[in-house]
Every structure is written in structure tokens, then in C-alpha cells.
Symmetry: C2
Subunit: 491 residues, 2 copies
Amino acid sequence: MSADMPRPRRDLGRATAVRARRDVAAWDAEADVIVVGFGGAGACAALEADAAGAEVLVLERASGGGGTTALSTGQIYLGGGTPIQKACGFDDSPEEMCKYLLAACGPGADEAKIRLYAAESVAHFAWLAAHGVPFKPSYYGEGSYTPTDDCLSYSGSELAWPYRELAKPAPRGHTVQQDGIEAGGRLMRALVAAVAATPVRVECDTLVETLVVDDGRRVVGVVAKVDGAERCYGARRGVILAAGGFINNKAMVERYAPLLRKCRFRAASDGDDGRGIRMGMGAGGDAIRMDVGCIVLPFTVPKGLLRGIFVNRRGQRFVAEDLYQTVVGERALLGENGEVFLILDDATFERPFPPTELAAVEDTIADLERALDCPTGSLQHTVAYYNEHAARGEDPLFHKAADHLVPLVKPPFAALDYRPEAALYTVFTLGGLHTTVDGEVVTADGEIVPGLYAAGRTTSGLAAQGYSSGLSIADATFFGRRAGRAAAARR
Amino acid sequence: MSADMPRPRRDLGRATAVRARRDVAAWDAEADVIVVGFGGAGACAALEADAAGAEVLVLERASGGGGTTALSTGQIYLGGGTPIQKACGFDDSPEEMCKYLLAACGPGADEAKIRLYAAESVAHFAWLAAHGVPFKPSYYGEGSYTPTDDCLSYSGSELAWPYRELAKPAPRGHTVQQDGIEAGGRLMRALVAAVAATPVRVECDTLVETLVVDDGRRVVGVVAKVDGAERCYGARRGVILAAGGFINNKAMVERYAPLLRKCRFRAASDGDDGRGIRMGMGAGGDAIRMDVGCIVLPFTVPKGLLRGIFVNRRGQRFVAEDLYQTVVGERALLGENGEVFLILDDATFERPFPPTELAAVEDTIADLERALDCPTGSLQHTVAYYNEHAARGEDPLFHKAADHLVPLVKPPFAALDYRPEAALYTVFTLGGLHTTVDGEVVTADGEIVPGLYAAGRTTSGLAAQGYSSGLSIADATFFGRRAGRAAAARR
């Protein structure tokens, strides 16, 4: 044995080793469908499996339902002509929604999932509403969250170039009705209540650690830890892994997505330790696009900050500032190693929310350039070139929308510090188990793992690169429902 | 069953399903150590397992040994003070080699592998030489290959900023002695001959498809296809997967590394279909950094082309042109979506090898800017700024070394087209099974898969991002040797 042999880390836990059916003496409990995790994906999977006539058991590691969905902004990417879009006077169609998602979510996006989701998004909205999820027919504006109880907002890059030319823009972020920015809690209260109104059994404080497989490599149950003791649960039709992503597992982030380590904040509950993904891998499931994260660079509040320009350490612009903040975050962190600053003048400066540091304030751009340690002349040229064209309402380099174009001429000039040490880069993982549109887990050979399903951030979903807000709860709720139906239908 | 259910592709093959030991009636043959694949990694693993006293059987799908190593330039990254470095008057140490690799191979590089390799590189050179691999004590210059029979060259970013400040530069690319750029064939002839001089058995035309595991999930053999019939091979101590990468498997590239699809040329033999990686995954092994590829943008021959400047579609420079061509390739393809051009004037222009298209030739930079559809003024500024500083031997934006700095002032001006449609972007995969420094395959939980070893491009090796030429044959030969020793020592 080598001294360098890696050992399981305390924070990692063991999950990939499967238990053979013949090593399970008897089931402590049985159900047709076992759902692992009671966040958005697990709740929707349970509701649909129940509706399809299956006996359903939900096992949740925490003391109650919620998961990461409950901690989220409660924004769901929905469109194609929802009642909210119509009430607010926005024209949308499944075709335009599909065009946008295909352009914005790649390369490497799952085309089958995108096409299906765009086609059925209006019906999915109706299902959510019918299950008690409240939406107010009101338009908020742009942004990844609504601090008010309003619903609709632009939550992606729909209005930014080139997307505004590739698909007719429409706001598709649908935030659940609740004051404050954590409407995800309201969403989960609704879904948990909907589950409570069914015969679905829920067992909390139950940490599923191991899948049980029979000699044919079919998944037939799970082993969980309850009050320190092991309990075995048999699943007659299928097991659905809805156990979140892996951003809270340092070892996994280091292995699969080391570039994400720089983000200071992880948008995830403690349960996002990759256990669901690892259990799926242990049963033969393939984990794909494990390098990809949603990197949020929050700089768009107040919205007037979009009139600033982002520059790198070389004083160059590198991105259209009106691309969605997750796209700007990706380019800043991955492309520029996080060495970026937002340049504003006295007329455009506002205090950002969330706050970040001021890297420098100077009376001239030349002084600002020196203060930021940019090469002499570089920032001066960038600002002069930008100003010259902004005065004409043009941005030949990046095509930022004309609304946000104004010359930066009034001293003093400021550089807001959007380096990872200063700004609140927020991240969660987008990679996970490879699934069909029905949530079936697929091997690296492209074959189904019998009896195993997954949904939500335990899977790779709609987006590969190029995130728009609301896509993760879309993945969780829509594909969670499909996994529930598929598992219930399996004999 | 969904209409969207993925099916195995013909080019993919099946590999993840394991065979239970109890389902193997009898072994057709047995050995202590079975090596899957007879390229550089497999040959070195076999030699060392044999030297350690094990009975060794090598199974190769092709009709003879060679693999991708035989198709390579035969360059091995070696240093720390090899006899060749000393003969050519270059001072190097394991410490400087280690500093360079740690800085250049990340983020996400395997520090344990780098430290060990730097410490033992001189001894590894001696082992290769003792096994008949010829090296001529001569210095060639810079570049990923030597068209002559010379040995030593700078094959990474050692001379480029910031690496030249982080570690004392030394040339570490050691090319096996042979005229022409495919010295990998010479390397493999030597290793195959060395194997032939041992009792190691080699069976060719034998496609290993499946691992055999016992009830304890230990790997105890393989199943192969020979002349259309199945043959089962028992491995008393271990199986070593040395079966190459996955760049020739379209489905895998699409799933794990969709950005690599744009490269026109794949530096790989037909066997690089990911079968070894998938077999390892099926036995519980973890595949990591599957998104990463070595992207070669060949633009450095003749070397004078380094005096040009790379610009993107916005007329901006984006990279130091003297970074190694794989680093430039990564930045061009991943950061700029491949929309890049090399700008030269009449004094610096030379015909590139390999050839690429001329995107435009114009009498002024303003005309070139128009011809390339860059924003008005953008390229003019870039060239003016570059020229002003190059005249003083400075490159404040990217710190290109002074040797390559000369103002681009003599018309006509040319833009060489280094977009993926025009230029010979060449790629192979760097992601693969997670292994210890002893080649033991590790699960997603960080535990060893008993009896399973891997080496070469079937594994994730020394480099994550930031490739330097010669690191893959270093991975194959050095860690192949260690896997062979570890498997032979296992009881």
C-alpha cells in the first residue's frame, strides 16, 4: 500500500460501493418507488409517482423537506406563453424559448431535454400552480431575483447580443410569490404541503448511503443510516436519486471542477455533498460535464451599473456587461482568472448590492490605470474607444444594448473590485448523472441502469455552459416529475 | 421506454458492464498481471511487472504493439539534470522542474504525481536508456518536435512569462533519436524489443471488452474477443488498463468535453475509444477532469512567426505568443471560440508549417482591420500599441520575450487564419481514471478498487490544464512502470 494512497475524507462519505441484494437479509420497509432527497426534485418526483398509482417513500437526510430549492430565490425558468407572460403583455412561444435555450445553454447542452422542456413549459406552469405554488401576475424587470412579491423577470441573456437576434426576447424567470429574495422557501412549503395531502410516506433524518443491486445490476433498494443504525429499504419499481449537487464536497470539486474553488459562496444546502451522484456512479451511472458550474457574479443591482465597463488586468474589455451575470461570471472567473474591475464615472457610480470593494477612485483614467496596475495607456485607450462609440449609442466591440451605453467622462472615476477575494462570486455545480428525458440513469456505454432514476442537480440538466436563472428549479421540478412517472410505470 | 432513450453507438462499444467471477466457468489463460494495451504505458508496465517477478500477459487489440505512443513525436518530458541536459550545457534540478510543472500544469494538477516525477525523472531517463531507447546528446531548440535526430528542446512554456520568473528555465523535451517528426515509432520499437527479450507473453488481435470482478468487487480478470469468440483471462494479482484516451469516441467527447469537437485532427490511434476508461468506470473507478484536452495550435514553425501577434475578432490581443502552442491553443479555442488570426508584416511573414490559410493581405492595418471584420479602430490601436512598446523591447500587455518583439510596420500586412476551419488544431484527451501514484484506480469516494491499475492516457495524469509536450509519454512510461511494479507486488 502506497503512502500516497488517497483515503476517504470525512466530508466525503462513502457512497459508490453498492450492496448486493443477497447481502440484505430482509427489507425494513418497502415501496414501489423510493425517492432519495426531499427538495424540489424529490417532491415533484414523489407527487407524480403517487399520481401514477405507485406506493412512494421519500427518504430525506435533513429533519424536513426543502433541500437547496428552499434556499434559492424561487425563480423558475418557464415560458412559451405562460398565463403570467400573457397577463403582463409579453408574447412568447415554445419555438422562441427553444431557440434561446439552444443558443444560450451550450456548447454541450442536452438538446432533447431543451426541446421537450420548451414544448411543455406552459403545461408545467399549470401543474405547479395546481399544486399550490403561487405566482402573482406581475412584471418586475430584469434580474436573477425579485425582492418584491412580483413574478416575471428577464433572468438570462435574452436581451443581450447575440441572443436578442437569435430568438425573440421574452422574460421567462417566474418567481414564486413572496416578499424578499428567498422565495424558494415558499415554493418548497407549497410542494411539501402537496405531498402531505397524498399517501406518500416521508422519512426524515434518514441518510441514504448505499444502493442495493441484484445480480443483474438492477437497482432494487437502498441502505440508509437512521439514528446510527442501518435500515434497508426495498424498491419494487425504482429508486430516484434527487439528492442535489456536489459543491459542498471539496474533494469532488478539486477533482472534477478545480476552477470553481475560487468562488467564495456556495449556493447550496449542506446536503450537496455529491452523495447522490456518487451512489449513481457506483451503480454504473455516468457522471457528465462535471467541470461545469453556475458562477454568479452579482453586479447588476442597481441596474445602472450596467453602464459601467468591465476590464481585465490588461485594461481590456472582455465581455458585454449586459450578458446575464452568470455568463459574465463564467468569463470573468474562467477566462480572466477573476482579475476584473468595473469602471464607472461619477455620473454612473452607485453603491452596488451586494457590496464589493472599491479598488480605486481617481480623478483621471490615467491615474486609475496606474492605481489598477494596468499597462500604461491600455485603460485610457479602452475608455476613450468605448466613450467615442457610446456617444453614438454603439458598442462595436461587444454590442451592449444601447440603453446601457453612456460615455464615462465625469470625474472622479471608480473601479469596483470584482475579483474573487472582494466580490461575492457564488457557485453551484451543474454536472451530474447522465439521464434520459425520463430520468433514467445512463452508463458510459449509453445503456440504462435498470431501476435507477435521477433528477435535479444530481443530474446534468438543461444547461451545460451559459446558465440562465431558473433553469435548476426547472430541471428539478420538470424532470423530477418525469422521473417519478417513469419509475412508477416500470415493472 | 422513451423514444429519446440513448442507445449504444456502434463506435462506442460496451465496456462498463462487469462480469461476475461466478459467471466465468473457467479461465482460458491465467497470469499474475494482465496488461490491457501494448502502447507506451502497457509496455513499461509489463517490463516492470516482469522485473518484479510476476508472470505477465499483455493483451492488445491491434495486430502489434505501438498504440498512440508509436504515432507520436516521441518526445518525453524529462529533466532535473539528465545526462542529455548536462551534455548540452543546461543546468537543471528536480526542484526547478517541479516548480515549473506545478505552475504550468494547473489548476487541478496532481501535485503528488508532479513531485514524484520531478524527483525521479533522471532515474527514469536512465531506465529508458537501459531498455534500448536511443537519445542523442544534442540540443535542437524550441518546439514540440524535432525534425532532425536531435534530442533536446524547449517543449513547454519554460521561457515565457510568468514561468521564466517562477522557475529557472531548462529544455526538458527529450526526443528519441530518429530523423523525422515521428520518433514515437522508434521509441515503441525499442520498448517492444525489450519486452520480447523477457518471458512476458503478448497476445495481439485481442480486444478486451469486460472486466471480471468477484463478490468483493475485486478485479480478477478480463473477458476479450478473439476471432469473434470470447476468451476469459484470470489475473492473480491485478489488471492494468493501459488502453489510451477517448478522443476517437464521438459520444464520449460530446458528453464530457464538447468544446474539443472543433479540433480537426485527433492525435490518437483508432484504439483511443475510451474503452479502458469505461471499463474502469464500470468497476467503480472514478474518471476525473474529463473535460480537459491537449489542444495543439501549430503555428511556431518557422520560429520567426512568434514575432507576429495573435488577435481575436475584436482586434484585441489575448495571449502571449511565446507561451507554448498548446497553451495558445487552449486560449484560442476555449477563450476566443477559435476566432483568431496571426498578424504579420512583410518583414516578419514566412510560410507557416503546417500550412494555414491567409485570411487577408492588405497594404494598411486599417484595411486589414476591415478585411477581418474587426471593429473600426480596434486592430489599428492594437498594432500601434504593440509597435510602440516593441520598439523598446517591451510587451506590457503580455510580456512576450524580447527576442520575439519587433514592430510590425512594413507593408503589406498579413493575417494568417488560425480558426479551426483553416488551421490544423490537433487534440487528444487528458482526462481519465483517477489513480494513485502507484497506478491504483480510485473510486469517487477515494477508495482503491482492489486489483485494478491504470496508466497513460487511460488516466488523468501530470497535467490538468496547461500542457507541455512530452508529458503524455512521461505519464505513460513512468507511471506505467509504477503500475506494473505495484500490480506485481500485490497478493
